[in-house]
């Protein structure tokens, strides 16, 4: 018995010391940053001859693609890219080809976090990234994105990133960023070449070489907005394209209601339903487009030349009364704003609504049958039904870490990825493996094309590792910039051209785009709220802005008598939050440069 007890004592002590040892032991290791790995540092030049293990790439290593024999670790905060990583990165043809040509062993890491990577980014930038990380990429459409203040603080206050301006000047691709008119205004002024930064720390990615945002190409368009059951439009003898104004839309809903259509289960149809993906406030900007006055994040300039939040003007009552009318008369589903995705899907598959609040042509319910056709698009407040585009844009952001060993090599690598050779590799993979050159242009092999049409992402990612326009390893799509596939490769994206597409499952998507063409109009500038940063009213006003959608929906459902008090209370709240200061600032900016804010009337 005593032996047993002794055993217990020992085992307990053992575990105790083990744990303690583990903790303290690791603590020491973790405290030291990457300094201790300096001896292994390889200098750029000697990498060519010095690396003996680079046997098969020996002679090619002499070309100017060679960067260094080293590892580059990239931390990804883009979930689309992080979720499309190869199982064994180093064994995919693309990674191997990168290694062969540039000497770089690329290693991609991903921490998804909870809310689309934003919280992971925020946490790690505030707590410090793992010492091994050389660069990071994250979402960043423009400087109004929530990621931006986090990145800016890391660049400006915490000095976490390396200044790449010196390397950029004589780089192969990124030198273009200095050219006037290459970068969109916002990217240039607010992200890459900020006045309050002493160098370049944040590289905005995916800026196209040529601006094609105003060109309508049916092969590449996805058409959002309301769709109507073809059967119902035919039966009522209505041309869906002809519905333009809120009044016409209302009359259509009434007609549908009066006709008494039934769905697949024999139940009465409700004329207007939520988004295909479930209830949402956003569908309003399609379905009540002509009444959405606050086009710039709820702000706009009124006819009197003054800037207002939409709640401050009586325009808002047009919208409220319209929605209330639809709700009260049973013309739109009560759960328009918060039905779950599953139930909305169920209802649409059973044809329970005549009109789908919002969907697009690349969703299976649209392309798999002839049942639904686009409605409108409806007019916006300016009275035309053109789609608004903000012109050339960018997405995703690259930052090279200050802690990276020899940041110049890291930069050179990302620069190389954006060259013609790099883009070819990133988008099409390796010659002979996934594409062949036909008349000087890359064309995907039949095998890859078949996998692409089947939607076999796993195969594309693991067996090739290239992006294939986003269907494969998305990382290689989002690190690129200066893209111009039409001029470089003769097609808009890998696999887009050549071959008969009639059996392609998306044939109908393209046909819809051909049959229901749309026009674009350019409205430059950022949303008004982009200019809130730094003002003393920022916090309170931001909270109020966040609450507005909900207050508005509350007004849709409230008793008639309460509507006004809800709106008045909110007007009050805006005043107290300091909206006047903000509006003054907006006015100043607008007067300086009217294209800075995307107002239109």
């Amino acid at each position: 018995m005593k032996k047993q007890i002794l055993k217990r004592v020992f085992s307990t002590l053992l575990v105790g010391t083990m744990v303690a040892g583990l903790l303290t032991g690791c603590g020491d290791g973790g405290d030291k940053p990457s300094d201790n790995s300096t001896p292994q540092q390889s200098n750029t030049g000697s990498g060519q001859t010095g690396s003996g293990q680079e046997n098969q790439g020996g002679d090619e290593a002499q070309n100017d693609e060679w960067i260094a024999d080293r590892e580059i670790v990239v931390q990804i905060f883009v979930s689309d890219a992080g979720n499309a990583l190869p199982e064994d990165q180093e064994s995919t043809p693309v990674f191997q080809e990168i290694k062969r040509r540039t000497g770089i062993s690329l290693k991609l890491q991903f921490t998804p976090g909870q809310n689309g990577s934003l919280d992971a980014l925020t946490t790690q930038l505030n707590a410090g990234l793992d010492p091994s990380v050389d660069a990071l990429i994250c979402y960043l459409n423009n400087s109004t994105r929530p990621e931006f203040p986090v990145l800016l603080k890391a660049a400006k206050v915490d000095e976490m990133f390396a200044d790449v301006s010196e390397y950029m000047k004589n780089s192969k691709v990124y030198s273009k960023y200095y050219e006037e008119g290459f970068l969109p205004n916002d990217s240039y002024k607010n992200i890459v070449f900020r006045e309050d930064l002493d160098g370049v720390y944040l590289l905005h990615l995916n800026v196209d070489e040529v601006d094609r945002s105003m060109i309508y190409d049916p092969n590449e368009e996805y058409l959002g907005g309301p769709y109507i059951q073809k059967k119902i439009a035919d039966e009522l003898n209505i041309d869906p394209k002809s519905i333009r104004t809120p009044e016409e839309f209302y009359d259509l809903l009434v007609k549908i209601k009066e006709h008494g259509f039934k769905d697949d289960n024999g139940q009465d149809i409700i004329p207007l339903g939520p988004k295909f993906w479930g209830g949402s406030f956003d569908a309003l900007s399609w379905d009540m487009r002509g009444l959405k006055w606050g086009v710039s994040d709820f702000y706009n300039m009124d006819t009197d030349g003054q800037i207002y939040h939409e709640a401050e003007t009586d325009h808002i009552y047009d919208l409220i009364n319209y929605v209330r009318k639809l709700l009260n008369e049973g013309l739109m589903d009560k759960e328009y704003f918060d039905m779950s995705e599953e139930r909305a899907g169920e209802k649409y598959w059973s044809h329970s609504y005549a009109i789908m609040g919002d969907v697009h042509n690349y969703v299976d319910i649209i392309y798999s049958s002839e049942d639904w056709v686009p409605l409108g698009p409806l007019n916006d407040i300016s009275g035309d039904n053109k789609m608004v585009t903000t012109g050339k844009g960018g997405s995703c952001c690259l930052a090279i870490m200050d802690q990276a060993e020899n940041p110049e090599e890291v930069f050179k690598f990302f620069d190389w990825l954006c060259t013609y050779e790099g883009q070819l590799l990133c988008q099409y993979g390796v010659e002979g493996v996934s594409y062949t050159m036909v008349d000087g242009q890359p064309r995907l092999t039949d095998e890859v094309k078949a996998k692409l049409n089947e939607g076999d992402e796993d195969w594309l990612i693991n067996n090739v590792g290239a992006a294939f326009g986003g269907s494969g390893a998305y990382f290689f799509e989002c690190v690129l910039t200066n893209k111009n596939n039409i001029d470089n490769f003769g097609e808009t994206r890998p696999g887009a051209s050549g071959g008969d597409d009639s059996e392609n499952i998306f044939a109908r998507s393209v046909r819809i785009a051909e049959e229901y063409p749309r026009e674009y109009k350019l409205v430059e500038g950022l949303s008004a709220t982009a200019y809130l940063t730094g003002l003393s009213c920022e916090a309170a006003l931001k909270e109020a802005h966040d609450a507005w959608k909900e207050e508005l929906v509350k007004a849709f459902y409230a008793n008639e008598s309460d509507v006004e008090s809800i709106i008045n209370a909110f007007r009050d709240r805006l005043k107290r939050a300091g909206i006047d200061e903000f509006k003054e600032e907006l006015m100043r900016i607008y007067n300086e440069d009217p294209t800075a804010i995307n107002f239109y009337n």
Binding site: T12, Q109, N265, G345, S471, I505
Partner: protein, 305 residues
């Protein structure tokens, strides 16, 4: 003892009408509760085994209408799932075992009312339940301890829990002191009492804390998603979480190519349901083994004798 058994059964026969009514009421209430709970759960199972596109039309309630295993095939197509299972099982077994050992030792020590510093330690432990440093300082500390990107990040941060520690302590306190005293007289030290008296008598609380800890490990996807950069070391829940996020991101598609990539396959809802079944069934199977420890009363008398 045997006499008592007879008495016991004797009473059972002579159960009064009131007793029997209570018994019936209890059964009825429990059946009602079970139905309320099991029917929605059945719906999840039915959806998991039903063709997703068919289910999207509605009307699938408690039994699949178009039976298929496709959803499960889709789940297991991902190589990460099988590997994730391995990691989840490893962390659950290691984590639960270590937690139980360390928790019970600490609880046993803290049960001793005369231990100098006991109040202080108890208070300080409770304090951590109410205050925490937040994500950033925690992240910094984990990095300092070398836990980032390390398997032990699944085990070490969850080793102790205030609630479980207190549960165990309370249970230990309920065991009569007299047993301990007599063991001491027999020459047992504290480790002996811990191993020979406390542990055998505390099976119910060990079982329940073990179950809670194991399920906590099993369901945790957070530490994978936050502290593990190497996607190959993710537990199954993190892998599934990402798989579902990916399936659901269909509505945020921004390019035609992405639309092409995400087309086909099973629906995200069906996948979600299959994932629930896949992750719940294994841990459910553990329950019956633990259940027996809750059913039997302790045999304090037997130990005494």
């Amino acid at each position: 003892m045997s006499k008592m058994r007879h008495l016991h059964t004797g009473i059972k026969v002579k159960r009064s009408l009131g007793e029997r009514i209570i018994q019936v009421i209890i059964y009825l209430v429990l059946i009602a509760v079970c139905l309320l709970i099991v029917l929605p759960c059945l719906n999840v199972v039915a959806l998991a085994f039903n063709d997703g596109k068919d289910a999207a039309r509605g009307g699938v309630y408690f039994w699949p209408r178009m039976f298929t295993l496709e959803n499960f095939q889709e789940v297991f197509k991902n190589k990460g799932i099988v590997r994730g299972y391995g990691i989840t099982i490893a962390r659950t077994v290691i984590g639960t075992f270590m937690s139980l050992l360390l928790l019970s030792l600490a609880a046993f020590a803290l049960k001793e009312k005369q231990l100098p510093g006991r109040t202080f330690i108890n208070f300080m432990i409770t304090f951590t339940m109410l205050f925490g440093g937040g994500t950033v300082p925690t992240y910094i500390q984990y990095r300092r301890l070398g836990l980032l990107n390390n398997f032990w990040v699944y085990v070490i941060p969850g080793l102790f829990s205030v609630t479980y520690l207190m549960m165990m302590r309370t249970f230990f306190e309920g065991i009569p002191d007299s047993l301990e005293e007599s063991a001491k007289l027999d020459g047992c030290g504290y480790f002996g009492i811990y191993a020979r008296i406390m542990m055998p008598l505390s099976k119910p609380v060990i079982a329940v804390v073990g179950l809670y800890t194991a399920v906590g490990h099993w369901n945790d996807w957070f530490s994978g998603a936050f502290y593990m950069m190497d996607t190959k070391k993710w537990p199954v829940q993190t892998v599934l979480q990402q798989m579902l996020n990916k399936a659901m991101s269909q509505q945020q598609i921004t390019s035609v190519a992405q639309a092409i990539a995400s087309a086909g396959g099973v629906t995200s809802n069906a996948l979600k349901m299959a994932a629930v079944v896949v992750t719940t069934v294994p841990i459910l199977c553990v329950y019956p083994f633990i259940q027996k420890y809750f059913a039997q009363g302790t045999m304090i008398g037997a130990v005494k004798g």
